[in-house]
């Protein structure tokens, strides 16, 4: 098909597209993280927390947050003309979990963003990716005013496999987020290598 009769316009290249998910508790900075590396303004549907949402969404520790992402939230990184990486922020609240299964289909890997003040918020995401064997890295978003813990403490608290990368990061900082994404892909690659080794073909 690529060799078909050329039209007046140059035929566009057909890029390979990949996606990485960004998960974590409500208000942990997923949208910020996507925005830090995306070449497009993160596309999203944000709605102000309504009265109806208040009893459901526990704001303790994130009192300053007045909006929450209730729909998909994504960014794009064009690595090359023919290689595009999409980042999808998963909905922060448990009641939108039905959207996760679609998002995680074919995902290259995932970032679980954690806040040490509310570490339990990311248990569900860790559990989700472990069960589906989706490679993930845990990134601890270093909020101002939150205590800093060594990576080992977070690893133990989340009961992670030793090979799961745990990084401290600043979700607002592009180089910091880039390092997190590199860690996810490296982890995915290491795992792909391990899975391929037993094959004898």
């Amino acid at each position: 098909m690529a060799f078909g009769r050329s039209s007046r316009k140059r035929r566009p290249v057909e890029p390979v597209t990949l996606k990485i998910l960004v998960a974590g508790g409500f208000g942990v900075g997923k949208t910020t993280l996507v925005g830090a590396v995306s070449e497009i303004r993160p596309l999203r549907t944000e709605e102000r927390l309504s009265e109806a949402g208040r009893p459901v969404d526990d704001l303790e520790g994130v009192e300053a947050k007045t909006t929450t992402t209730v729909a998909m939230d994504f960014g794009r990184i064009t690595l090359r003309e023919d290689l595009v990486l999409y980042l999808f922020g998963t909905p922060g609240q448990d009641r939108f979990w039905f959207l996760w299964d679609e998002l995680s289909q074919g995902a290259l890997g995932a970032v679980v963003l954690a806040d040490t003040r509310r570490l339990e918020d990311c248990f569900a995401a860790v559990d989700y990716f472990e069960r589906r064997a989706i490679p993930f890295a845990v990134a601890v978003n270093c909020f101002e005013g939150a205590d800093r813990f060594p990576v080992e403490t977070v690893q133990a608290a989340l009961d992670l496999d030793p090979e799961v990368p745990v990084l401290l990061c600043d979700a607002r900082d592009r180089p910091s987020v880039r390092d997190v994404l590199v860690a996810v892909v490296e982890h995915a690659m290491a795992r792909a290598d391990r899975l391929r080794e037993p094959a004898t073909t």
């Binding site: 098909m1 009769r5 102000r48």
Partner: protein, 145 residues
């Protein structure tokens, strides 16, 4: 006119949310004038065999350049073809760009695939890992950011 102006302003911008403090919804806050199911003529899935992935890229076919374009296409169909002619885009980007639900965009793109005006890339199938060489290129690309 009304449909267009409402679609442009529907997204939950801070301004729109601020004005929704009262219990009534006016203008854009009340939602689109043309309801999503009307744009798809009531359909919730398209005729095409494969469910279109969020990151499937929609690429126009040469036929889409034809100025004597099919007059039966809806304005939304035409908008999709035009957006993709500028730059091939994913289903997710089209949905955000047109401010339409993803489900609606899937149906409309399915129509365009049927009419052979566009084709859609198939991303890496689920449960299949991308090639290690591709992963290596992703890492290199990220490091160069």
């Amino acid at each position: 006119m009304s449909a267009d102006s409402s679609r442009g302003a529907v997204s939950g911008t801070p301004a729109a949310s601020a004005s929704s403090q009262s219990s009534r919804w006016y203008d854009a806050d009340a939602g689109p004038v043309v309801r999503p199911y009307a744009m798809t003529r009531g359909r919730t899935s398209s005729a095409s065999r494969h469910r279109l992935d969020l990151i499937a890229i929609v690429i126009p076919e040469p036929a889409a350049d034809d100025p004597g374009r099919d007059q039966t296409l809806s304005p939304e169909h035409v908008e999709i073809v035009e957006l993709c002619s500028d730059m091939p885009q994913s289903i997710a980007e089209l949905a955000a760009g047109l401010d339409l639900p993803v489900g609606v965009v899937r149906v409309l793109v399915g129509d365009l695939v049927e009419d052979e005006l566009v084709h859609v890339t198939r991303p890496v199938p689920p449960a299949e890992l991308p090639d290690v060489n591709i992963l290596r290129e992703v890492i290199n690309g990220l490091r160069a950011l």
